[in-house]
């Protein structure tokens, strides 16, 4: 079973991305693009996708559970929350779908603590497919052949 990603030339050097949909309890299904990030422990929704999904800092503070463990990252002070019981759906080469259960991290930066320039850069960062899911597959990246896929 193989799930194709692709190399995006919006990044320098090109970065491996993958399309997915995510089911969030009480919010329903949403679509997103994830950066395949072997440096990330957990699959994580970052600011711009959180905004698309309607997850603001105010919403998170009132409705989401703070992440049970401290999360270390690059990019200033951030608040980290967790949504338990999420399901990520990936599409195989043959068009069939595969669902992966996970506890999803949400990392939100407080815009009031950031300069406009830093805020703009953080908003450009894609959400991350972390090792909690990558490790369930074999990850294949061959930039020379423009190939990215997850396989098992």
């Amino acid at each position: 079973m193989r799930i194709r990603g692709f190399l995006s030339r919006r990044f320098e050097p090109p970065a491996p991305l993958i399309e997915a949909s995510i089911y969030l309890p009480s919010m329903g299904e949403r679509q997103l693009i994830l950066l395949i990030d072997t440096g990330a422990s957990a699959t994580t929704i970052l600011d711009s996708d959180a905004g698309r999904f309607g997850i603001t800092l105010e919403y998170a503070r009132e409705n989401l559970r703070p992440a049970p463990r401290k999360v270390l990252g690059i990019g200033g002070v951030a608040e980290t929350y967790m949504i338990e019981g999420a399901e990520l759906t990936l599409t195989q080469e043959d068009g069939l779908e595969v669902g992966e259960a996970l506890d999803l991290y949400i990392v939100l930066h407080d815009p009031e603590t950031l300069s406009d320039e830093v805020r703009g850069l953080i908003l450009r960062l894609p959400s991350l497919l972390g090792r909690d899911l990558i490790n369930r597959y074999r990850l294949y990246i061959d930039a020379g052949r423009d190939e990215v896929y997850l396989e098992r």
Binding site: F11, S21, M27, G51, R52, F53, L123, L125
Partner: protein, 78 residues
């Protein structure tokens, strides 16, 4: 079976990646919402304004591809 929402999102995203160089020439510094291949619904320099415009039209931004266009490639250490 892949839903219509997912197929539309995938077409929009693949078009965005394919046409990114051309988009960057014309829409540098803007966020754009792409509904389907070649269909730009809204654009704005501020993502929050863009998301508000979509919601004001009764659309769910969580089901629509939203991307930032820049002549500068993104260099990030994550």
């Amino acid at each position: 079976m892949v839903s219509k929402d997912r197929m539309r999102f995938s077409r929009a995203h693949r078009w965005f990646e394919r046409e990114y160089g051309r988009l960057a020439e014309h829409l540098d510094g803007e966020w754009i919402a792409v509904e389907d291949e070649g269909v730009i619904l809204e654009r704005d320099r501020d993502i929050n304004h863009l998301l508000r415009k979509l919601r004001d039209r009764g659309l769910d931004p969580g089901r629509i591809f939203v991307g930032y266009v820049s002549r500068e490639p993104l260099v990030a250490i994550l």
